[in-house]
């Protein structure tokens, strides 16, 4: 018998809060319906009412976790339209911030994935080592979250010479801790049992649904804007693209963990090779035309398209957020798994962090499971597995 288990009449995520309707047969999820729009604020509508230089502050607020990625892609798009090349030092600065943001975002996901499967220790530990990174952001840019580092034609702030050792010191700490997390998470039989062969997204589906980022790379679909279409300092540093073939949640977790190592590598090289010089070129006007900017955000490709008619405001500004495509792929990834796995699979594309606490399951108008109960289901499964492994 088919039943509908809706998750979250309102379910706020970053760019795309959603309403999932799990269609279940007993314990098994057979289909999924997604309804979004609860977080729709109309950025594309507001953008043409602002001047070119004001838009980065707007797009920064699309998502607080990728708050470097959207302005980054936007300034790349405008620079593409105006045929401007920013000075090399600013390119390195933008790359460093982009990579530090990736670490912060992957740690966020890792912590919450731990929370979803009932390993709050993972959550607390991972977030503990995320804190110094936020301090670094505050040190460099003056705010813990919205950085405002990107500016058309360069960077808004310089990284001071005396801050370099502090960044290096944090990277050393992080490298050690990342190795610890990788080992702790991958060697734990219970975590393995919870993540392995769960929520498998095959390569064919990944291509059909046009997913990007770790979701794609976890399914053996090797796309990464930083490699394919290098911008700023990415073609001047040496790093590897992490790809796993399995397509399950474990593969996605592995991609994210190992990517943090690569990010550390990139930041170190950037700090070492950073040239001296100015940090911005003056851009007086944007000529009529169009431009495309892309950046590999922690979740996948961010794509911005701008069209100019020569005035001081964009005519059209299109934003493609990675989750817009990635979330749609949940429809195939969640099919065939149990409700206890659903919270984890839906979270595996990294759509949301704090959502599960606020989800509700309604059945014919009456509340049946809250988000807490869904979490409980997930936790119980982990407990069961723990007992089984003890025997």
């Amino acid at each position: 018998m088919r039943r509908v288990v809706p998750i979250g009449p309102y379910h706020p995520l970053q760019e795309e809060p959603e309403f999932f309707k799990l269609i279940v047969e007993g314990e098994k999820v057979v289909d999924l319906e997604i309804n979004i729009g609860y977080n729709h604020r109309g950025h594309e509508f507001i953008s043409p009412t602002l001047t070119w230089d004001q838009v980065p502050f707007l797009v920064e607020r699309i998502c607080g976790i990728c708050s470097d990625s959207h302005p980054y892609a936007y300034v790349l798009a405008v620079e593409d339209c105006a045929h401007v090349t920013p000075p090399p030092r600013s390119q390195y600065i933008r790359t460093i911030i982009g990579e530090l943001e990736r670490i912060h975002s992957h740690y966020l996901w890792l912590g919450l994935a731990g929370h979803f499967i009932g390993y709050n220790t993972v959550w607390m530990w991972v977030w503990r080592y995320r804190e110094p990174l936020l301090d670094l952001f505050e040190l460099i840019m003056g705010n813990r979250n919205h950085y405002a580092i990107n500016k058309i034609g360069g960077a808004r702030r310089d990284i001071r010479k005396e801050d370099f050792p502090k960044i290096e010191k944090y990277l050393d700490l992080l490298e050690e801790k990342n190795a610890m997390f990788t080992k702790a998470i991958l060697d734990d039989p219970v975590i393995r049992a919870r993540l392995e062969d769960v929520g498998v997204l095959s390569k064919e589906d990944a291509i059909a649904y046009a997913v990007t980022g770790p979701t794609a790379r976890g399914s053996g679909y090797a796309i990464d804007v930083r490699k394919d279409d290098p911008y700023d300092a990415y073609d001047k540093v040496d790093w590897n693209e992490i790809v796993f073939e399995e397509g399950d949640v474990l593969a996605k977790a592995k991609v994210r963990l190992l990517e943090c190592d690569e990010s550390i590598k990139i930041v170190r090289q950037c700090l070492k090779n950073m040239p001296e010089g100015s940090i911005e070129t003056r851009v007086d006007e944007i000529p009529p035309g169009e431009g495309i900017g892309r950046h590999e955000a922690p979740r996948g490709e961010v794509f911005h398209y701008v069209r100019s008619n020569g005035s001081n405001m964009p005519v059209r500004h299109k934003v493609r957020a990675p989750s817009f495509m990635n979330i749609a792929s949940n429809v195939v990834a969640v099919r065939g798994y149990s409700i206890a796995d659903a919270a984890l699979v839906l979270a595996s594309v990294d759509p949301c962090y704090c959502c599960t606490e606020r989800t509700f399951v309604y059945q014919s108008g009456k509340k049946k499971y809250s988000g807490q109960d869904l979490l409980k289901l997930s936790w119980e499964k982990t407990e069961k597995l723990k007992r089984r492994y003890k025997k």
């Binding site: 109309g42 507001i46 807490q372």
Partner: protein
């Protein structure tokens, strides 16, 4: 009964997190205050999974047309007296989102708000201070 609720609220406020249409930064900072550096659970502040168990609502983000009915429903389900704490600049005023067709204004137009914590996003210290101030008002 009301007194007992008030007593519980002051001793150990259980909070429920309502995010309307945020950029998620305020929400992360709320989760952040639960993690080891701030650890607000030592003051008895617990994040709960249902508004029916909550003493205080932490509201973030701007309200839009689609989530307003849901936010009102959550507010209706919360036992009164309850505190409503608006976290972040968006919760106090739509600011940069004012021109949008889908954004319909600040929270205090629809539900009574006790404390405003501006900032984009407010620092965790500011959030803790805001909650403390809200409790002092009782």
């Amino acid at each position: 009964m009301g007194n007992a609720k008030l007593w519980g609220l002051k001793k150990s406020p259980w909070v429920f997190h309502v995010a309307a249409a945020p950029c998620n930064n305020c929400d992360i900072e709320i989760l952040d205050i639960l993690t080891p550096r701030w650890d607000v659970e030592r003051f008895g502040i617990v994040l709960v999974g249902s508004p029916r168990h909550a003493d205080a609502l932490l509201v973030t983000g701007v309200l839009n047309r689609k989530n307003l009915p849901r936010v009102l429903e959550v507010y209706r389900q919360t036992p009164k007296p309850c505190l409503v704490i608006a976290i972040g600049a968006c919760a106090c005023h739509p600011n940069i989102f004012q021109p949008s067709y889908n954004v319909i204004g600040p929270y205090d137009k629809y539900i009574p708000v006790d404390v405003y914590i501006p900032g984009c996003p407010p620092k965790p210290e500011a959030i803790i201070l805001g909650v403390v101030k809200a409790l002092q008002r009782l």
